[in-house]
Structures are given as C-alpha cells and as structure tokens.
C-alpha cells in the first residue's frame, strides 16, 4: 500500500531564512513523487516532481526537493523564504510501475512566513 507522511502540521519561518517542509513515503516499487501548493480557496498547483534521474529536482518559485531513497524522503526546500510562500503544501506519491494513476496525498503542511 502507498502512504505519505508529512510530520509537521505547520512550519514557521522568518522571511529570508531557508525553509524545509518534510515528507516521507512508503510505496512498493519505484515512486513518482510530487509537491503541490494550495492557496486559500484555490486548487492545487504543481511545484515539482521526481520521476527518475538526478535526486535533486528544481521546481517553480525557487523550490527544490531531494529524493533520498534510503530514507524514503522527499523534503521540500527553499534557500530564502518569501511572505508570499505562505500556503498549504502537499506531498504526493504514485507507484511508477503499475500503470495505475492513483496518487496518494499527504495530510498537508501549512507554511507561515513572517515578515
């Protein structure tokens, strides 16, 4: 069975400081991993994904994430946070090899960036 854990309900960071939003996953076989962001009363927006290749993936708005197979983690990072990064962040996983499309989302982490 697939599962995603986002251990922090909320992350607080000061503007200009680096931020990390944690994600660990469990999946049989190889994973496809995704990060999405959601602003109030909006749909989710794709940030970045890991499919294969380089473990460090770069995405939209200066975000990046590192795939760590041994730790089954895919933490989202940004070197310098902006107040406008404040939003709800979801990590998601899908099995790469079954041809199915079911994607499991984590419970979400709310990021607050203080000016």
């Amino acid at each position: 069975a697939q599962s995603v854990a986002q251990p922090e309900d909320q992350v607080n960071v000061a503007e200009g400081n680096p931020l990390t939003v944690k994600c660990t996953y469990s999946v049989s076989g190889n994973p496809y991993l995704f990060w999405y962001v959601q602003y109030p009363n909006r749909g989710l927006q794709f940030l970045l994904k890991y499919i294969t290749g380089d473990n460090l993936v770069k995405g939209s708005y200066g975000f990046e994430a590192e795939f760590n197979k041994s730790q089954t983690s895919f933490h989202l990072k940004k070197p310098s946070a902006l107040v406008s990064d404040s939003a709800l962040y979801f990590c998601a996983v899908r099995r790469a090899d079954t041809g199915g499309f079911k994607t499991i989302f984590g419970a979400g982490t709310r990021l607050f960036v203080k000016a």
Binding site: Y32, N41, R42, F46, F90, F101, K102, T103, A107, G108
Partner: protein, 111 residues
C-alpha cells in the same frame, strides 16, 4: 492558455437534492480525476478516468457518480447530497506520467 475549468465555483444545494458539478479541460489529457477535499485536509480521490476507462475508489460512496462524455468534459453527480458531502470538489487532469493539473475547485454547500 490551456487549463482546467470548473463550474460553478460555488454551489448551494438542499439536502437530498441532486447536484452536478462540471469540469472541462483544454489540455487534451487522457486522465481526469475527481477529488473531495474537506477543511484543508488531503484531497481524497473519488474516481478517475483513463480515456473512457472508469476507475472507482473502493470507499467512494454510491451516492457519487461520474460521467465523461468526451475527452474534454467530466461531470460529478451527487444523487442525494447529505450534510457530510459539503466540501471542496477538485477536478484534475494528467497525462500518463501523472503530473496533475488542478482546476480551481467547486465549493459545495448543503443546506
């Protein structure tokens, strides 16, 4: 711009009165999904289509049905809405690889 469109953005219905939410896409993606999201929780997959192939999640209530008449459109029918069905309903599309493009959502209120 290519996009996923959901109408209406807000829907109010009465307890037990059938309601239909619509989703359209200009991305020409094979896969379309319907999710239910409550109170900033994780989106919960209700069902998805791969072309015309319908896939229902095991825990999706029978009250929820879906139709996909063509590649561009997908509908969510709630036959007898209950108070517990009040939520944000998100439509998404993807190619086979799976990066999903989400619509803005329809917020359903059941009175």
């Amino acid at each position: 711009d290519a996009m996923v469109i959901q109408n209406p953005r807000y829907q109010v219905t009465q307890f037990g009165k059938p309601v239909t939410l619509s989703c359209s896409q200009t991305l020409n993606h094979n896969v379309m999904y319907w999710y239910q999201q409550k109170s900033s929780q994780a989106p919960k997959l209700l069902f998805h289509y791969y072309d015309k192939d319908f896939n229902n999640e095991a825990d999706t209530p029978d009250n929820f049905q879906s139709r996909r008449p063509n590649t561009s459109f997908c509908f969510l029918d709630i036959r007898s809405p209950g108070l517990g069905d009040a939520a944000m309903y998100l439509c998404a599309t993807s190619r086979v690889e799976g990066t999903q493009n989400f619509g803005p959502g329809t917020r359903l209120l059941v009175l």
